[in-house]
Symmetry: none
């Protein structure tokens, strides 16, 4: 590499590029920056008013470019939703998947991971609500793409369970169901905020759920003693 080479070139990730979203624009950095602006603005608006109550005009009014330009970076309103959803899922999943787990103890791994995902669910409450609401309107392909990130999250928990079972620390319960249970318990913070938080604190809820999962998973505790 020469010193003058743009070393961060690889760092530019173009939103929507994964699933081939066609553009006449040549400069990838420009695409990235325009789409990112779009994502930021549209996310807020979709969160505030919902996808269907937000017009493209409304979005673009808050952008640094104009309506016709918008259509140089996305090819439909749905594309914007897709961009937003993908970004949301990525942010959420990334924050979870970066969590450092205790490789020695599945028990502690579960505790850490679940606590982390609860924290994330709490932080991204509205985003998760948006995803629950609007992903259903996606066409096949995009929906699958977005849901694949949900699968990543599920797998993250699944793997911990599988490892726990493999090392004899956890009972032999179906890992998929256990993982789903955990994800749901965390999502409930976003989706059923009232029911979760009206009577106690978030910490209490997380503590209860953690206890529950460990009780279920850990092999006979009485024998541990």
């Amino acid at each position: 590499m020469s010193e003058k080479a743009k070393p961060a070139k690889e760092a530019i990730s173009i939103p929507g590029d994964a699933v081939s979203m066609p553009t006449t624009i040549k400069n990838p950095e420009r695409i990235a920056s325009r789409r990112n602006e779009l994502i930021e603005i549209a996310t807020t608006m979709f969160l505030d008013r919902g996808y269907h109550n937000t017009s493209v005009r409304h979005i673009v009014r808050a952008c640094s470019f104009n309506l016709a330009s918008l259509y140089m970076y996305v090819s439909s309103k749905e594309d914007i939703l897709y961009l937003v959803a993908q970004d949301l899922m990525n942010t959420i999943a990334k924050e979870l998947l970066e969590t450092e787990l205790d490789a020695e103890s599945p028990e502690r791994a579960i505790q850490t991971a679940f606590a982390q995902y609860c924290r994330i669910s709490n932080k991204f409450r509205r985003q998760i609500r948006l995803l629950y609401r609007e992903v259903g309107f996606f066409p096949e392909e995009s929906r699958n793409d977005v849901l694949s990130t949900v699968s990543d999250v599920l797998e993250f928990f699944e793997k911990i369970v599988v490892q726990g079972v493999a090392t004899g620390v956890f009972k032999d319960l179906p890992p998929k169901f256990v993982a789903l249970d955990m994800v749901l318990a965390a999502h409930a913070i976003a989706i059923h905020t009232r029911d979760v938080l009206s009577h106690t604190s978030l910490d209490d809820y997380v503590a209860f759920q953690t206890d529950k999962f460990l009780t279920l998973l850990l092999v006979d505790e009485s024998q541990d003693a």
Copy 2:
């Protein structure tokens, strides 16, 4: 009650009456029948095409009355959604609340109630999805009204847990959280159909969840002996 009073008066329940939904129409039976027709027709359409892709014109085309008349019985498109949501929640809650439970055994009561609610969630998958999606857009008052029925469902489970704890059959776990867990586990059938049903049957899922809840709730049987 005057002699001239219509004795069946109580039998007429006017949809939407709970939460003030103003009308200039005097005859309550007319209101009830019009609104019921509306609910029936709109429900199908919202389920098929979604709320936002269904136009008021489209709805009214299938009704026995006309567009202008519709606005004598509801005051906006949102009102129709509210009517539909309320009806859906009532149907679902009613079907659960009618379940006959074994008053003697909280264990069997839980089994019955949970199995029943899973059956309901499976039967009303699309309806539950519709509710999850659209209720968030309701204004305060209507949302609370619809969600109060969710509370009824939660309480139904809560009471069983409370009773089980009271009779010493169940461990002393927070009943609200346990109830929420159960409701979520059932809703997952509707909301996360793929994840729940792709690898096993509904029965397996229900069995797993039932086991889980009983394991959690029942006081250590081995020590009882």
Copy 3:
């Protein structure tokens, strides 16, 4: 018929009714009057600027109703063109078909009919140009419908030729081709106005063409004697 009956009821002809152009409007007279207004205004504009350069907004600005109302009487911009084309063709064909012909003499019938159609073609020059231009853009069904009126015109001439041939006054030439020739010669006044009128008068042109057709058609008179 009672005296109070609306005797002219049958007289209301709804433009576009022949080919089923759906409407939510119930009152047929209203449909007729709205569509007629539309036809009158759109015809002028299509004539002035062409179909593609005339926007629905532009048309409706000159109407007594508004954009949304327009779409209660037609279902697309194309429908307007169809209405206009149909009306043009009907006007033209009607004016021709009403011509009283000398039933005794095919020779005089041809003279009268052709002269009349030349007069019409001259009067409706721009309309004929419009039809030539835009009919090609119609979808199958409407095009056939409009072209069927052209066939009526062709048949009008064809019948005269056939009768002339049958009575031995005309030579046995293919009537379809002869009729087409006549129609084309008349249309040329509209389509090739420059070439037709730049060097002589319309009368000269008509006289030339009439002579031509009679020369072609009439069986050798000199030999008859």
Copy 4:
């Protein structure tokens, strides 16, 4: 001519040069080649989708240069249509004008010329339809320019007639009208394809028309015998 002058200078004919079509570009060969590329590509598209349904973007996507460059060689979308129309007319006229005629016999000349133009009209059906449709929208100057080529075609026939009349082979009919008749009869193959071809073959039509014109033109055949 200087020695350095490009000797083939005269060979480069710049499309659109006849009628002032301004350009900032200096190199005439470049203009010619760009415009020719444009003509080739746009012709296909106009033929396939019509002028109004073809966007400048669509055209340029198939070109070797880009949108902004296009506007260095033409100054509007209409210019492209003009270029195309001019080229179409030239191609058609050239193919006719190259026809070798029997200088001795006006009769055979007419036969050959008309047959040839019918062949051309059949070959270029869609092109002729395009011209009929769109030329009317041209502004004065360009229309005249395009129509002057039509005049060339008319004159081609006119001259034969004039010569026939001059040599006493043809009757003294107005040559302009006869020529127009012939051109129209040929164009009918393109414009009234259905009516011309639905009942017989092209050859029959041409034969009929040829007979017709000869019957009209040739001086008293009975006396020839």
